[in-house]
Amino acid sequence: MNKAAEHLIKISNIAKEYSSGDATVSAIRHMDFCIDDGEFVSIMGQSGSGKSTLLSVMGGLNHPTRGVVYLDTMDVYALSNEQRADFRSEYIGFIFQSYQLIPFLTVLENVKLPLAITKFKEKLQDEMALSVLDQVGLVDKAHRLPDQLSGGEQERVAIARAIVNKPPILLADEPTGNLDTKTTMDIMNTLQSLNEEGLTIIMVTHNPDLCRFSGRTIHVRDGQCHDDA
């Protein structure tokens, strides 16, 4: 990645509006912040505060109505649709709400999913997928289907899928939203370990207890950054 830029991600004067009939709803009114390489940032806010929209805008999924998203020096939304797909494949790992695993693929196949569009040979894909499954402690369940796993295990498969092609940035949307306290702690410890290995993590949550795992918390309210600490 080009290290000429001062920050890894720069959110500059972002706004996102949705049309709902004749009315216009502002999901993000105005946001301006930067994230450095290797940071673990929590984006916290109530439901409807615009935090998930912000995450999708940062991930190149949701074109902002106004403003610019930079990754290093690259203007993400100046890219074409197909270039943005390549950008997501190369730079972003996504952990979606409710795991979002593909039910007809095994754990191993789900983890290998981002590799299906690469030129990596099958053997190398297996090695890469098993390596990350080992990292999240699920090698022994590689050939099970998602519905044969617990919620926590499914979340770990989602993490493994997000990091299998070694992206520099991990975007996690409520990664522990459906989990019990103990499993939540396990998942957060896993994310913390990944961050310690150099992965930049941006996590959306509404649970204030989880902010202690991240080095920085951005509070979002009514589509604006309320606090950045």
Binding site: S89, F104, L115, A116, I117
Partner: protein, 385 residues
């Protein structure tokens, strides 16, 4: 992990829908295969029947005074004088442009003789070419095969009082009646038939031919053109093409063919519609899944490819099974539709057509759903984000 793994896994998971899709297309293709197989067999059957029916080109010498009674020739007793063909020149028939369409060439010599005080028409034939052409000739006894054999038409036998084993002196040579031709209801009933070269000798027409019958039937043969080509080679001949019977029968087959194609097109349209509707439903059902693909970096082309691979697989399987089922149905139906006939062999071309049809229809019906899937906005598709 490759894109086709995703396609096949999806088909495996949605077994019910996959079977439904394959069955829909299979019915269409099986219908086409059945109808085409039946039509093809009917066509071949008629072709064979017409071949058995006999010649469809008759070549006779040009003569203004000639009145005809057998195959275009009447011999008016002692006044019968026409310019006949030279036997050695008949080889030219095999040199016309459409020579490959010529089946049997049956030359004959005709002339009057007197047997037991009565005038009768004597016909010399080449048994090897004549008998396969006249499959409706049935003999009591052994048909003529040697130079001294004679077959006598049923009416002539009565009129002349001839029976099998009787001797007849013709042109100073002794002949033996070896067969009586059973009534045909045609000119043959009143004539005497012998071996060509022997009869040429009796009639004192060595190397001469009075009439040539040609069997040139085959599906789509240019009979009229062939008659013209023959006339060019034999300027002193009058060449008649008997194509009316064949044309009317082929027209019936063509009408059935058109009907078959119409039914097949309708069934195939319904099958394709089924694939289209099911694929559209499948895309809607898989919105979330497609959203995940797009979010993790799949291009629009990748999503399209996943759906198109599924379509190819469904189409291929439907084509293969449709061909098998269609041939099976044809095998059952043909004996009822064409009595005395049965399904003959495997048609490789039809197999290839069935496969191509299955794949192309499935692809065509899936094109729009695949395009729609590839255009899904990942955020809308995922909703959760």
């Amino acid at each position: 992990m490759r894109l086709h793994n995703i396609s096949f896994n999806n088909l495996r998971r949605r077994k019910g829908k996959t079977i439904f899709l394959i069955t829909g297309l299979l019915i269409g293709i099986a219908t086409i295969v059945t109808l085409l197989t039946i039509t093809e067999n009917m066509s071949r059957d008629i072709e064979e029947r017409l071949d058995r029916f006999g010649a469809n080109i008759v070549m006779v010498p040009k003569s203004e005074n000639l009145s005809l009674s057998y195959g275009g020739v009447t011999v008016g007793g002692v006044n019968y004088t026409i310019e006949e063909f030279d036997e050695n020149r008949l080889g030219a028939l095999r040199e016309i442009e459409n020579a490959e369409n010529i089946g049997i060439i049956a030359p004959k010599v005709l002339g009057p003789v007197e047997i037991r005080g009565k005038q009768v028409l004597l016909m010399g034939i080449d048994p090897e070419s004549e008998l396969p052409l006249k499959t409706w000739w049935h003999f009591e006894g052994v048909p003529p095969s040697h130079s001294t054999d004679l077959a006598v038409g049923s009416e002539a036998a009565k009129a002349l009082g001839l029976a099998i084993g009787d001797s007849v002196m013709l042109g100073g040579k002794n002949f033996v009646v070896t067969a009586i031709l059973q009534p045909t209801g045609a000119a043959e009933d009143g004539i005497v038939i012998g071996e060509l070269h022997a009869i040429q000798g009796v009639l004192e027409k060595p190397g001469k031919i009075s009439l040539v019958e040609i069997s040139a039937f085959c599906n789509g043969c240019p009979i009229t053109e062939m008659a013209l080509q023959i006339a060019e080679k034999f300027p002193n001949a009058r060449v008649n093409a008997l194509k009316q019977a064949m044309m009317s029968k082929m027209q019936s087959i063509d009408m059935f063919k058109s009907f078959s194609y119409g039914v097949a097109a309708l069934v195939i349209f319904i099958g394709s519609l089924l694939v289209f509707v099911t694929m559209m439903g499948s895309v809607n059902e898989r919105t979330r899944e497609i959203g995940i693909f797009r979010a993790i970096g799949f291009r629009r082309g990748h999503v399209m490819r996943i759906i198109m691979i599924e379509a190819i697989f469904i189409g291929f399987l439907a084509g293969l099974l449709g061909f098998g089922v269609g041939r099976g149905l044809a095998w059952i139906v043909i004996p009822f539709v064409i009595p005395g006939s049965s399904l003959s062999g495997l048609s490789g071309t039809l197999g290839v057509v069935a496969l191509l049809l299955g794949v192309s229809l499935s692809l065509l019906a899936s094109l729009y759903p695949a395009l729609k899937a590839s255009k899904l906005d990942p955020t809308t598709a995922l909703r959760a984000i």
